[in-house]
């Protein structure tokens, strides 16, 4: 169903299993096993070195450093972050920010990181404690956010929403806004793979819809940029406004299609929620071998039978595979948030872009060859697969174009090539020249 790329476009790299908190919703499947304690410092350096080499040699475009809590081992990981940045790979950072000091913030900035995703479970310290199991969590994360903002980082606050904090989505958005954060995401908690019974925490479908509605209210009333950072089934949300205003509720699962996880021990998994691994970057085959081994995730092998006739099946692919497995028993089970009573509501976003008289390729554009041509990449949300002709044009043409010269360069007509130019302008891969 999905094209097999030569390697992931983006990876998340869990550089440690250690954390300062023990959140009830933590997806890290080793949470109760303390396996990470068997990995000692010299082994870590070997692993970090190999993972970095694999990421660079496979031309992965974007890396998110995550954990556990990556700040706990920041001195060890810093040289490798610098290597990734030097290789022109986009590097972002997931952290609870509790351990962040002003000195560490400066070091993080110097290493090339510019954006951080942090977790804010609640506006209420008591609820925060009941979720994180850390009495210092609320205070220390608030302090860390202040330090990060002061240093100039773009900080996005993500709230993982369970029954414990569902009623606090709006107040938590108010709270993060009061700290100076302008980007707020709310993401439903998923059942961790090693958790026997998560039913007391898991949102119902109506609870999930309430979360989405509150997120929209945050956008309208507080003016924050809002999103959600998990892929949900297309039929879970029926409200057209939510689909139109919040991109994340239209998101396709990218696990094994353009994205994968690399664990602190080198194991490769399709997504943060899945505990199944398909290879190890440290062993023969490396990242590419593991990537190809995830082939069933790219076919319709895991498409639930109930979704076979759905018009949205190619882009929805049945929702979250991990939720399906952990709650309903297998990857090809139905996502627990599917609502098959009506056809999915699909957003239609209008674009008001027009084609400027002169335009050129973005100088920050990066490219990667593929068997079908290649990839033009600006960011996780701005990349496209393209033909060999367009790939070559993008790589070697640091000149201004008109629609006519662009069409001529591709051996096409101006009228035919307009949708292509608009798609590239939409993603800022092409930009107007004043």
């Amino acid at each position: 169903m999905y094209r097999t790329l030569s390697a992931p476009v983006a990876v998340q790299w869990e550089v440690t299993g250690q954390c300062t908190k023990n959140c009830i919703h933590c997806a890290n499947y080793w949470r109760d096993k303390s396996q990470f304690k068997t990995v000692v410092e010299p082994q870590l350096e070997t692993i970090y070195d190999r993972v970095t080499q694999e990421i660079i040699s496979n031309q992965v475009m974007a890396v998110t450093i995550t954990g556990g809590e990556p700040l706990l081992i920041f001195p060890a990981i810093k040289p490798y972050i610098s290597s990734l940045v030097s290789a022109k790979i986009s590097v972002s950072f997931n952290s609870n920010l509790a351990p962040l000091s002003p000195e560490m913030a400066k070091e993080l900035w110097r290493s090339g990181i510019r954006s951080i995703l942090t977790s804010v479970p609640s506006s209420d310290p008591e609820t925060d404690y009941r979720i994180t199991n850390s009495s210092t969590s609320f205070r220390n994360t608030a302090r860390g956010i202040g330090i990060a903002l002061e240093q100039g980082f773009r900080v996005t606050a993500n709230m993982v929403v369970s029954k414990r904090n569902l009623h606090q989505v709006y107040s938590t958005a108010q709270y993060v806004k009061s700290m100076g954060i302008t980007n707020f995401t709310a993401t439903k908690a998923s059942k961790p793979s090693n958790c026997e019974d998560f039913s007391k925490e898991l949102l119902s479908l109506s609870g999930f819809r309430f979360m989405a509605q509150e997120l929209l209210r945050v956008k309208y009333e507080l003016g924050l940029d809002v999103d959600t950072i998990q892929a949900y089934p297309a039929c879970a949300i029926k409200t057209a406004d939510i689909k139109k205003e919040i991109a994340g509720f239209n998101r396709t699962c990218t696990g094994a299609k353009s994205f994968c996880m690399i664990g602190f021990d080198g194991r490769v998994r399709p997504c943060p929620l899945s505990s199944d691994f398909y290879g190890n970057v440290l062993y023969e085959g490396g990242l590419r071998g593991a990537w190809y081994a995830m082939d069933p995730w790219r076919t319709d092998a895991y498409l639930p039978m109930e979704c076979a006739e759905c018009p949205a099946k190619t882009t929805c692919s049945g929702g979250c595979k991990a939720d399906a497995k952990h709650i309903n028993g297998s990857y090809n089970s139905i996502d627990p948030y599917c609502d098959l009573t009506e056809k999915p509501v699909l957003a239609r976003r209008e674009t008001d872009l027009s084609i400027p008289s002169r335009f050129r390729f973005n100088s920050k554009l990066r490219t990667r060859e593929e068997d079908f041509g290649g990839i033009l990449f600006l960011s996780n949300n701005a990349w496209l697969g393209v033909s060999v002709k367009l790939l070559i044009l993008a790589k070697y043409s640091a000149i201004d174009f008109s629609i006519n010269s662009f069409a001529t360069a591709l051996g096409n007509t101006s009228e035919n090539i307009k949708p292509t130019v608009l798609a590239l302008l939409n993603r800022n891969i092409l930009h107007s020249v004043n």
Binding site: Y2, R3, T254, S258, C316, L346, R348, G385, N412, P419
Partner: protein
């Protein structure tokens, strides 16, 4: 398809051909073709 842009989707119903062949996105009923609009669900996001 928009010329020179390559879809990430295949149709398993048509022996591996590209899913969107007619310049029309069946999923969202828009004329984007499935790989050029910004609807979010017509593209594989990283």
């Amino acid at each position: 398809m928009a010329p020179e842009i390559v879809s990430m989707y295949y149709s398993t119903d048509h022996e591996g051909q590209l899913w969107q062949m007619e310049g029309h996105c069946e999923d969202c009923d828009c004329d984007c073709d499935g790989s050029t609009c910004d609807s979010g669900h017509c593209q594989v996001e990283g």
